[in-house]
Symmetry: C2
Subunit: 241 residues, 2 copies
């Protein structure tokens, strides 16, 4: 079931059997991609979209000096570049962060599917707007939070998203990112991430042991992050402190 994690535990957004089978049929066989490869280059017309089955991917904007800003982190079940279906080409790069497994759908097939199945279209639309909602939260994070708040916010968000796909109990999870990756997500330097991570650790909010992250004090973490998971549109029960 390649779509098992797609829209998983998103409040009231289940696909019916016909819709799910239609997408499953449209998806290519799973493929593996190595870590740290650019999968979609900005500006290039794309003719298929990618469903992430396993591993992590990211979307990047790059400045003149080559500094990268992560604008989205993608987890299994995310339709990574579905944006490219209405947009036709992307304004940013899509990159693998770990080794990943993906399946793809041709845009021509998506056009047929969306011609025939309007409710499915709205669910696909919804999934891209979930990305937009996360974008907005990232804008808030960068515009209004200090370094500790940004890191805590990033970790709280990731914890709940992984929980929704049963990759976490909401507190403990694997996050195979470097501090540089996290810095690129949070608009900080890797040096400062290292320092602030330690203060979060010594404050008893998080435990970080390599890629293994544990939320030790969720209420306190949510407080410094000013975290309110409403924007993730999760099932009730996954989104209470």
């Amino acid at each position: 079931m390649k779509t098992e994690n797609f829209l998983r535990r998103r409040r009231g957004r289940q696909l019916d059997e016909v819709e799910r089978l239609a997408i499953e049929a449209a998806l290519s066989e799973p493929r593996r991609l190595a870590a740290r490869q650019t999968h979609v280059h900005r500006g290039v017309t794309v003719r298929e979209s990618t469903l992430l089955l396993d591993g992590l991917m990211g979307r990047y904007m790059i400045d003149r000096e080559g500094n990268r800003q992560l604008v989205a982190l993608h987890l299994p079940g995310d339709f990574v570049d579905l944006h490219a279906f209405p947009l036709q080409h992307l304004d940013h790069d899509v990159v693998t962060l770990t080794e990943v497994s993906i399946a793809t759908v041709e845009h021509s097939v998506l056009t047929s599917l969306t011609d025939a199945l309007p409710h499915l279209t709205r669910m696909l639309w919804f999934s891209t707007l979930l990305d937009a909602a996360m974008h907005r939260e990232w804008i808030f994070r960068l515009g209004r939070l200090d370094a500790a708040g940004r890191l805590a916010h990033f970790l709280c968000e990731t914890a709940l998203r992984l929980n929704a796909i049963d990759r976490s109990d909401g507190l403990r999870f694997e996050l195979p990112l470097t501090q540089r990756d996290i810095a690129e997500a949070c608009g900080l330097t890797n040096v400062h991430v290292s320092r602030v991570m330690r203060t979060l650790r010594t404050a008893g909010l998080f435990e970080v042991d390599g890629p293994r992250v544990t939320v030790l004090d969720r209420p306190a973490a949510w407080r410094v992050a000013q975290f309110n998971p409403q924007y993730l549109y999760l099932d009730d029960g996954d989104a209470t402190p």
Copy 2:
């Protein structure tokens, strides 16, 4: 023609006559709203979406101390809260910045329209993804640019967006925002906006006279802003330095 500015000058995204008439018929009579009113409150289930006909609106996230972060600025022709159609409720507030004129569509009508007109659905979808593309650019702006770059970027973006709806020649335009508004968009304080605006003025990049903004040196402005308008998906010709 209430939809005259909707998707105006967006490369290859015109509505056909049937689609345009369908939306026109679905739109309410224009209404006026006073400046600085919250039009949609976060979390409240909304049953209609708003097309902005004239004036400026914004979308805000608010932190614990009441500091606001603008996450989107909306101009005439924008379907301000179309996101709420698939999402059902918003994770942020929608506010009028000036006196505005709006027309609304019931979500129930949008459901019928999108059941019947798949291409129209994809165009509506596209328009929300344009917002998402702008969100990403704002993440980049906040994460990777300094204050001068952020202000220049904000002004360059606004210049081109206003140009697309014939409210500017791409260089000169009215922007009835306070420095506090701009600060809330760019993750800065109003004091710092004041100072950096002056440096942009003395550097000969912009002239700002109350709400009247002129881009004096567009190549230089684009350079400090690291501005690349690809993400606005404008007609060719509107997007060349």
